[in-house]
Amino acid sequence: MPEMTFAQAIDYALGEAMAADERVITLGEDVAMLRRELLVRFGPSRVLQAPISEAAFLAAGVGAAMAGLRPVVEIMMVDFIAVALDALLNQATKVRAFSGGKWNVPLVVRAACGGGYGDAGQHEQCLWGLLSGMPGISVLVPSNPADAAGLMLSAIQCDEPVVFLEHKLLSDYWLDYLGRGGRETVSFDVPEAGARGEVPKPPAPVPIGKAKKAREGRDIAMFGLGVSLHRCLEAAQELEKDGISAEVVDLRSACPLDREMILSSASRTGRVLVVDEDYAGYGLSGEVAALLSEEGLKVDFARVCAEEVVPYARSLEDEVLPNRRRIREAALRLCGGSA
């Protein structure tokens, strides 16, 4: 298996899908430069430069999908989807239901997400909780190159609207553009196992809604995704020194959730910690708690999430985003110890 960066893996899968199916197109701002290798292969009619008109081109993606294409629409950063939310909230996710199941929208929205490089909370949000709140949508958040390629492939093959989120700490080009800018005077806490790794060739689809156990453990189950998954793994190593055996599950999608895997890990350990870079309220962590409660599972539950608007200063940002210290402390509290 060849080794790829996270970003290469996504574009590799997209390129393979475009080569295999001429209905697959990609469009968005600056794609001629961002996806220049795809532009060279497939030309400007399938790699379409868009004006800064997200509301129009995302909704146009919905129409194109309804009429037979399989568009991958790029919203540069997921924060910017706010100006185009109608396309998803009231159009894409309504068509299947309103047409009595007769018409569907095979649309992929691709967007960069997440923080850790000091750009503040108008460019560093995750928003998968907000997006998952729409019935009929899937929201995928890969944590490593193989999953990124496999989930992108599945997203394109899926007949329903899918949001594919690409964390900027894992995607080297985003981090360089937005955080580093070619400087050697700044540094970032990049989880190496997520930023680079082996990817099957040809890419193998990863089923949507299937979580993956990233680490076996007995005392506590930690659920994470994207960069938070890596923060869980880092914290799990530290917890080992505290005598706590932590299981770590990569949810891989904020929606749908893998009920089976969540329930089995939760019931086996009796303690659940959700680590979520998205906002604490009304989102993924609450959804996991609801799921456990609906199943009548009595577990000790805690969450480590973003509690407020992500601040600009790197030192403040580090505390608002889930970090090893906060995760370890929460896990110790759940396990009856203290940090």
């Binding site: 701002e29 400007p44 004006p51 800064i52 008109s53 924060d79 108008q122 580093r180 403040l316």
Partner: protein
């Protein structure tokens, strides 16, 4: 009325020196994230701001430092903010894309196009609470394709708001040549909404001053909103460390980085239509070439042009003053940051 060129140049020099300092601090790693400078936009900012009074409002985009400096926001508190210090303008929580000065009714946002509706709201409040005051929105030509911005044009006309929309046309939106994704002409577009629209060479501060005087004067008198299309250069790329500019600044390294994957794409399977692929490669080459020619051959620095209107002695005195002011603010800010 004639412009006070000395004063206009003084403001432009303050803005430029300040942003040169920002670039230095950014390079030293003391400023995080994307740093968009307004270098090249000083004549637009200074020419418009010269007509603003106390209690006029400004809605700004991601290049908000020149207008804030021109409006007299304390340089030290701006620098501290950019360095994420608790004593910064916004407690270190906003950073360079999200600068707010409530005292000066100035707010910036990193969401492209959002300054226009915000300015409409500022203008609405002005009409009721501060009659005779106006609001100004600054944005780029790329933002003029954003729905909410165009809706704001209509809103301003429908409600006859005392607002002036200032479009800084640097021809680029990140890596995209705006003309390639824009239909029609922005001046006519604005006119068709019923806005009084003006075009001006945004590198000539005296002309911006004259044009802005008309637009702001009309709005202030309640005679309707205006639109100014001001052309200007993008002198430091989209943001500091712009990868497209790096292609020119470190050609060998960049070619080694970008070249091989492109060559692989050119030859990847299925291997159909090689000539077409070469043509597609040309699209990327053309964008880079256009950027290079504009930046290294045709660029017109508004400060140089303004300086040409002054005596050498006056120019030097003004520049020295600006440098001193910036250096003092930077020294104080750095002391605070290092003392933490």
């Amino acid at each position: 009325m004639v412009p006070d060129v000395q004063e206009l140049y003084r403001q432009m020099a303050r803005m430029r020196r300040f942003e040169e300092k920002l670039a230095e601090l950014w390079n030293r790693g003391l400023i995080s994230g994307e740093m968009h400078l307004g270098v090249g936009e000083e004549a637009v900012a200074a020419g418009v701001l010269a007509h603003l009074e106390e209690d006029d409002a400004m809605a700004l985009d991601h290049r908000s430092t020149p207008p804030l400096v021109g409006r007299g926001v304390n340089m030290e508190s701006l620098l501290l903010e950019m360095m994420g210090h608790p004593d910064g303008l916004c407690g270190g929580r906003g950073g360079h894309m999200h600068l707010f000065s409530k005292e000066r009714l100035a707010a910036s946002s990193g969401i492209v196009g959002s300054s226009a509706p915000l300015a409409c709201g500022f203008a609405l409040a002005a009409r009721q609470l501060r009659p005779g005051k106006v609001a100004v929105a600054f944005f780029g030509e790329g933002a003029a394709n954003q729905g909410m911005l165009l809706e704001s044009f209509n809103l301003a006309v429908a409600w006859n708001l005392p607002v002036v929309f200032v479009c800084k046309d640097n021809r680029w939106a990140i890596t995209t040549r705006s003309r390639s994704v824009t239909g029609g002409c922005l001046l006519r577009r604005a006119r068709s909404f019923g806005l009084r629209a003006f075009r001006v060479d945004g590198t000539r501060v005296e002309r911006v001053w004259a044009t802005a005087g008309k637009a702001v004067g009309r709005a202030r008198a309640g005679r309707g909103p205006g639109f100014i299309l001001a052309s200007c250069p993008r002198m430091e790329g989209h943001f500091l460390g712009d990868p497209m500019l790096r292609v020119f600044r470190e050609p060998v390294r960049q070619t080694l980085e970008i070249g091989p994957p492109l060559a692989r794409a050119l030859l990847s399977r299925p291997l159909a239509a090689l000539p077409a692929r070469a043509l597609h490669m040309g699209i990327i080459g053309k964008a880079l070439a256009t950027l290079g020619v504009e930046k290294y051959v045709l660029e017109r620095d508004p400060l140089r042009r303004a300086a040409a209107l002054l005596s050498e002695e006056t120019r030097r005195r003004i520049e020295d003053e600006a440098s001193r002011e910036v250096e003092e603010a930077a020294r104080a800010a750095l002391a605070a940051v290092e003392g933490r």
